[in-house]
């Protein structure tokens, strides 16, 4: 998907002209060529070499019918992400949902981050790409259930120093716990792909150096980022979008009957304004969640969330 010709590799469709102007500037900054349209995309708009379609949710259903099978569709959601996540759960071309308030432009860095990653294939890891230069970051290897609990207990202390409200401190401890439980208990498999520890989450677990997870947490004062990487790469996009959509579609009353899958994804979705999943099948799965320290809880609760799934080799 490397940009080689003079033809634009990106098509952006949004009924809001201001959003399109802004996107044009963002793509210019990134040295990328972009074609913009205020109307719905049509089949003729997809020139050879158009690899990405950035489309508002308003035009999404048109886009699904005309976009080529190898074109990645990036959805600019309108307030509510339920429908976009539902579409992503069904259509493999949709791996990226940008949360935005109605009539507000998307976050430029987020668009740039996703588009450049898709087109230029950067091998990004950890939380460094999400924080400003000079940010304070911690990384630690989590090789046992004991390590897991130590890390979870440390998280509120770290958050407290940032002046975050107690609820955010415990929220992030919960999130760290959720991500690490997945990495330590659910992800590890043996050579035959059989789960090693998922059957009993109450047992004490010790992982080998190759099986250990990497936990990262950091902040630049504006954004708080948490990330967990496991060396198995077994998460699938259907778990992400399917779980989130099911939980959100339950209209705030998630039914845990039947296994309760979705609860964990709901935790990830709700605990940050953006969640980034980088899946390298058989190699690693990394989940990064971002929280905006500048928002109060009330603003944060109603903020539309972004979800991005990257498949990399």
């Amino acid at each position: 998907m490397t940009e080689t010709s003079n033809k634009p590799s990106i098509l952006a469709c949004d009924k809001d002209v201001m959003t399109l102007r802004r996107l044009e500037k963002v793509f210019f900054a990134a040295g990328l060529k972009c074609q913009t349209k205020e109307t719905a995309p049509a089949a003729v708009d997809f020139a050879e070499g158009t690899r990405l379609l950035l489309v508002s949710e308003y035009y999404l259903q048109f886009a699904l019918t005309v976009a080529p099978p190898d074109c990645a569709i990036l959805v600019l959601a309108e307030e509510d992400t339920i429908s976009a996540l539902g579409t992503a759960a069904k259509d493999e071309r949709v791996d990226h949902v940008f949360g935005r308030r109605a009539a507000n432009p998307v976050r430029p860095w987020e668009v740039l981050h996703v588009v450049r990653r898709l087109l230029k294939h950067y091998d990004l890891e950890g939380i460094k790409p999400f924080l400003h230069w000079g940010a304070r970051m911690h990384e630690t290897v989590v090789a046992s259930s004991e390590d897991l609990h130590h890390v979870v207990e440390w998280v509120p202390t770290f958050c407290e120093k940032l002046g975050t409200p107690p609820k955010v401190q415990e929220t992030f401890a919960e999130l760290a716990h959720e991500l690490l439980m997945n990495a330590v208990y659910d992800a590890p498999v043996d050579a035959d792909g059989q789960k090693l520890f998922a059957h009993d989450r109450k047992q004490e677990v010790v992982l080998t150096e190759e099986q250990a997870a990497l936990f990262s947490m950091g902040t630049d004062g504006e954004t708080l980022a948490v990330s967990v990487r496991d060396p198995f790469g077994r998460l699938e996009r259907r778990h992400v979008f399917g779980g989130m959509h099911r939980a959100l579609a339950a209209n705030g009353q998630l039914d845990t009957e039947g296994g309760g899958a979705g609860l964990g994804m709901m935790y990830i979705y709700q605990h940050g304004y953006g969640s980034f999943f980088t899946i390298k099948p058989g190699i690693s799965t990394e989940v990064t969640v971002l929280y905006d320290l500048g928002l109060n809880r009330r603003e944060f609760t109603t903020l539309p969330r972004s979800v991005h799934v990257f498949h990399e080799r």
């Binding site: 439980m181 845990t256 964990g264 709901m266 109603t302």
Partner: protein, 729 residues
């Protein structure tokens, strides 16, 4: 696993009630079956110590709730932290059949950037929770309003869907004595249940205050009286003196008065000879605060006088085992009180009386869960078939003072059955109704006065009727003045009246739409009463002195069905008088404008209390010119409450206060003046409080900059271009 995260569960058991206090994290270590062991009948879960809950913990919790739902009759959650409120909102059946009694709401003060966690009792805030708009609270640090730091729509979605929790008296008593927890932080109106059989059983639930109908209770009692004080809350001085009077009245009529479940605050205030019916009152058991030497828990423990008589008579409290850990617990009582306890007579409260009390409590429980009509029917059936086993006629009197009047079921028999309700006047404050009373609310100018006539046609008693009627009179008076100002001043009408007109209309139409549903109407009426009180306070501040009813008149009515008095109520009429000259002076003062640098201000108008509760002072921004220095900070219709630390009240003084603050700021080199204000959010129908800062550049002192010699060029080795294209990365 780190110790801090481990879940600790403290179990407090008393008869059929079990309380579980969780401390720590609900995660994979949560063992539903083990924790649910032994729970029965009533379960109380104190969640204040829960720090976190994981998704796996949720699954285990649901398992625990499943068991609890099967085993328990009722489940109550107290002190739910916000993280768990999120789960109640998000996960279906997270609370099972349980009810949340209280929760911590996260608050934020913009003024001092402080987060707060406020424990809110659902019973106290039921109406506002239903409407999904919890009121602002005063910040503990700066006193300005702090607001709910959550989206109320989503945060209150579960809470607003649950019914008003009304725990049984036993549960209230258990919470008070064992967990030292009050179901409501507000005054609890006293509820009295009375049952006449072999003896007269009277149960008190709530606070003993000035509304305590001691005289009515004392009337007609005879023989043995058993007073159950388990549910008694605070004892106010006024209530205590009525209690003493009641006991004095009872003295010649009764044989013995047994006092059961006497709380220690009662002992401290009322363990005096005057309150003991001339020695006829005997304390069966009482509660004292005890501290366990092992687990260090402090709780109220029951001390049966009969059992510990030999110890008590030496002015010593008995040593009791801690009900939680069985360690030794010692009483925390003053010597003076112990000396009084030493004088207590042995109560000789035999097994037959214990059985009598248990039977009556069961009966009252059944009666409470049935409607008044069905209670009457049930009682009739029970008497007819002799199930209760009482040969004499049962007289069941459930007195629900302040809740719905008095319900009296008297000599119910099938022969006398008739559904007709007869209403009759029973009493009046004077024999002939005075000429001045008016059936309709009216405002009339007469003899140099403004006369306001209001009435309350279904008051619980004469005193509350007069209070309510005065509240409505204030409302009419303020409306009258508002209309007068609005006639002359279009801008005032649009801004000030525009602020409170709709909230007032909304609440009044809600009140009217409740029709005859007294329970629901009572909740709205309480809200209106609060607003009327606010209006009266604002009025008093604006006028300079208090205004009361000039004349009052009341009539007492009884509603009888099947010769049984079903309800008693009062019609109360008042006339309020206010000199016309004072009306004109107030109108002039309340509408007087003052323009300061393009911003026009007027005084706070009492009618605004319909939108802004607990506010009595302030200045309203009436208009703002674009060139005003305040234009970027403040907006028309905002109410300015403070300038720095000064309360704002008079428009003409704003400028002086502003200049004084400005001068002070420059002296201190802090060139910023905080202005606190409140504003109305029509879409959410709530008042918000915020603060803005008027800032300016402080005059600079002359400074001499000495630049040290440096060779640092701020450049270093390495790639200097776009970091993304760094070839070394």
């Amino acid at each position: 696993m780190a110790d801090e995260s481990r879940l600790e569960v403290r179990k407090v058991v008393e008869d059929k009630i079990i309380a579980l206090q969780f401390n720590g994290t609900i995660d994979e270590s949560f063992n539903a079956k083990q924790i649910a062991e032994g729970i029965k009948d009533v379960l109380i879960v104190d969640l204040s110590g829960v720090r976190r809950i994981s998704s796996f913990g949720i699954r285990e919790w649901l398992e625990f709730l499943k068991i609890a739902n099967e085993k328990c009759e009722s489940i109550y959650f107290i002190k739910c932290p916000p993280r768990l409120i999120d789960q109640f909102n998000m996960v279906a059946n997270f609370g099972g059949k349980g009810r949340i009694l209280s929760f911590f709401a996260p608050y934020h003060c913009d003024y001092c950037e402080r987060d707060d966690s406020v424990l809110l009792e659902v019973a106290d805030h039921f109406e506002t929770i239903k409407d999904k708009k919890i009121p602002d609270q005063p910040c503990e640090k700066c006193g300005n309003a702090e607001y709910l730091d959550e989206d109320p729509e989503s945060f209150l979605s579960f809470l607003s869907s649950q019914d008003k929790p009304e725990p049984d008296p036993e549960v209230i008593s258990f919470l008070a004595h064992r967990l030292r927890y009050k179901v409501s932080s507000k005054r609890q109106k006293l509820k009295i249940d009375k049952h006449v059989g072999e003896a007269t059983y009277i149960r008190f639930i709530g606070d003993l205050d000035g509304s305590f109908p001691g005289r009515k209770i004392a009337e007609g009692v005879e023989g043995v009286v058993v007073m159950d004080l388990h549910g008694l809350g605070d004892i106010l001085d006024e209530g205590a003196s009525i209690w003493i009077q009641m006991m004095k009245t009872m003295e010649p009529l009764v044989q013995t008065v047994y006092l059961m479940g006497v709380p220690h605050q009662f002992l401290e205030k009322l363990l005096i000879p005057e309150a003991m019916a001339g020695g006829k009152a005997k304390i069966v058991d009482f509660f004292l605060p005890y501290t366990c030497t092992v687990c260090n828990t402090t709780m109220d423990l029951r001390v049966p006088v009969d059992e510990h008589y030999e110890v008590l008579k030496f002015a010593t409290a008995p040593e009791l085992p801690c009900p939680d850990c069985k360690g030794k617990a010692f009483a925390q009582a003053q010597e003076g009180l112990l000396a009084k306890l030493a004088q207590l007579p042995k109560p000789d409260f035999g097994k037959s009386w214990v059985k009598f009390v248990e039977t009556v409590k069961d009966e009252l429980k059944k009666a409470a869960s049935a409607t008044p009509a069905s209670v009457a029917a049930a009682e009739a059936g029970a008497v007819g078939s002799g199930i209760i086993g009482l040969a004499i006629t049962i007289v069941l009197l459930i007195a629900a003072v302040g809740v719905g009047g008095w319900f009296l079921y008297n000599k119910i028999s099938k022969k006398e059955a008739s559904d007709e309700v007869i209403t009759a006047k029973a009493n009046a404050s004077q024999d002939v109704p005075p000429e001045w009373i008016k059936e309709e609310s009216l405002v009339i100018e007469k003899d140099g006065n403004l006369n306001i006539y209001t009435s309350v046609l279904e008051a619980e008693d004469e005193k509350s009727g007069v209070n309510d009627a005065e509240g409505w009179a204030f409302d009419l008076l303020v409306e009258h003045m508002g209309n007068k100002i609005a006639e002359k001043d279009g801008v005032w009408k649009a801004v000030v009246r525009g602020l409170y007109y709709q909230p007032r209309e909304d609440l009044l139409s809600r009140y009217k739409s409740m029709g005859k549903n007294r329970d629901r109407q009572r909740d709205v009426l309480n809200l209106i009463r609060d607003i009327h009180r606010d209006i009266a306070t604002s009025f008093k501040i604006a006028y300079g002195r208090e205004l009361k009813a000039k004349e009052t008149y009341w009539e007492k009515y009884t509603e009888t069905q099947n010769k049984v008095v079903r309800r008693e109520y009062y019609k109360v009429y008042i006339r309020m008088e206010f000199p016309l000259k004072a009306v004109d002076a107030m109108i002039a003062s309340l509408s007087e404008r003052k323009e300061i640098d393009g911003m026009t201000l007027v005084r706070f108008f009492p009618g605004l209390n319909w939108a802004f509760q607990k506010t009595a002072k302030g200045l309203i921004v009436l208009s703002m010119k674009p060139e005003s220095k305040f234009n970027s900070l403040l907006k028309p219709s905002w109410i300015l409450t403070h300038l720095g630390s000064n309360e704002l009240m008079v428009a003409t003084e704003f400028e002086k206060q502003f200049e004084s603050e400005r001068k002070l700021g420059e002296e201190k080199k802090v060139c910023s003046i905080p202005i606190s204000y409140k504003y109305w959010k029509p879409e959410e129908r709530i008042a918000q409080a915020h603060a803005a800062a008027y800032t300016w550049a402080c005059p600079k002192d002359p400074t001499i900059i000495v630049r040290p010699p440096s060779n640092n060029t701020n450049t270093g080795p390495g790639f200097q271009g776009n970091i993304w294209d760094d070839p070394t990365k």
